[in-house]
Subunit: 222 residues, 2 copies
Amino acid sequence: MSCKVRLASVCASLAPDELALLDSLAHPTSFAPKETIFSQGDTAQTVYNITDGMVRLYKLLPDGRRQIVGFAMPGDFLGLAMRDAFGFSADAITPVTACSFSRAAYSALIDTKPHLLRRLHDYATHELTLAQEQMMLLGRRTAEERIVCFLLAMRERWSKIGRDSVTIELPMSRQDMADFLGLTIETVSRTLTRLAKTKTILIVPDGVRLMDTQRMANMAAA
Amino acid sequence: MSCKVRLASVCASLAPDELALLDSLAHPTSFAPKETIFSQGDTAQTVYNITDGMVRLYKLLPDGRRQIVGFAMPGDFLGLAMRDAFGFSADAITPVTACSFSRAAYSALIDTKPHLLRRLHDYATHELTLAQEQMMLLGRRTAEERIVCFLLAMRERWSKIGRDSVTIELPMSRQDMADFLGLTIETVSRTLTRLAKTKTILIVPDGVRLMDTQRMANMAAA
DNA sequence: CGACGGCTTGATAAGCGTCAACTGAGGTGG
DNA sequence: CCACCTCAGTTGACGCTTATCAAGCCGTCG
């Protein structure tokens, strides 16, 4: 009941008694920056609900190339996209707190609570929609469009958890952004400076301030 | 019971009476090549289970750039990734047959059949895993790797529906492949001819034959 | 037979990657 | 207290992969 992200996560719309049951199964957990939460290929014995901080989710190729498939933020759920083994790795970017659940308990719970399963299913389809949006971005957008779309999407996500502002926090490194957007760190850096030079954004410590959202929206739509 | 793809789709693991119920709700539908099944933004009043043929699922940017987010084949389910409106467009590549269900009936059904919902949820998470694989491909792989991964993935999909062969049917056009792989039609064509010249594949009408799956697997893993 | 669409091939160019040097903030230790 | 190191980020020069533009091929169909 005291959870800050309850209404933004799958826990919304649970009855008080169900919430209590869920609470009894949850293990509060925390991770330091750069700490690994799980690795691709690990047998998935735990699922997590992020309550604070930011997590990067990524896949690696044997030669070291990395693709970040998403950033998890408060309210996000980790552990859906696998049957037995995690399909990607996850590690903390900032200090992270999460509710962890044993996979067995989680699995048993959703078998008895259809509407919790329904919430999870809705969450999964939402993730799928985001993934398809990202395919469009990676396959067909220019570097500048990717950056602009990313910033607007981050604004959207912060606002969904009650932190709406034209100043966007970006706790991840340039390398993380690059690996999310299918670019190099140099291209990310150059593109951000170019946007700053045209007064579209203002680069601030650990984030950017959006100075011309109208122009950005046009770039993203085009 | 006579459905060729029953065991490969969400309909597997249904009890006979449930199958009968589902059957009573299903409307057999068919589409001619290039016919639109639905368009991005349409209110989603129907969901589909493909029984034969191939469908392209794609998103468009206002300036005409296209990203194919997936190809639907027998056993695949269309209509998951939306709450009220379709997030992408779909049209038939080959002649297509499908079971269509009204969204209302579908929604009511899964509310009363938790294990059907469970199947759908598993299907959705599988789709999500594929989408993340595709992000890796689009963001970090070279043109040649994309083509090779695509061919191997198509082989895998055909084999899942009982058509395992080193000769891969490719009913879609070069343009469709290009828009799926984030390339241009010219790069797809050139890369395929290069693979053919090195005797890695053999280009045949409406498909390719894999001549050196070992080398291809190495390219895909790298 | 001619037109058309899908595909291939070639020449050229652009966007982004690569390599490398530089800057500035933060941390460490003599 | 300041020299030094480290690391993330920025900037510049250059080059490669892939896009773009353009021409030609081939099977199909009216």
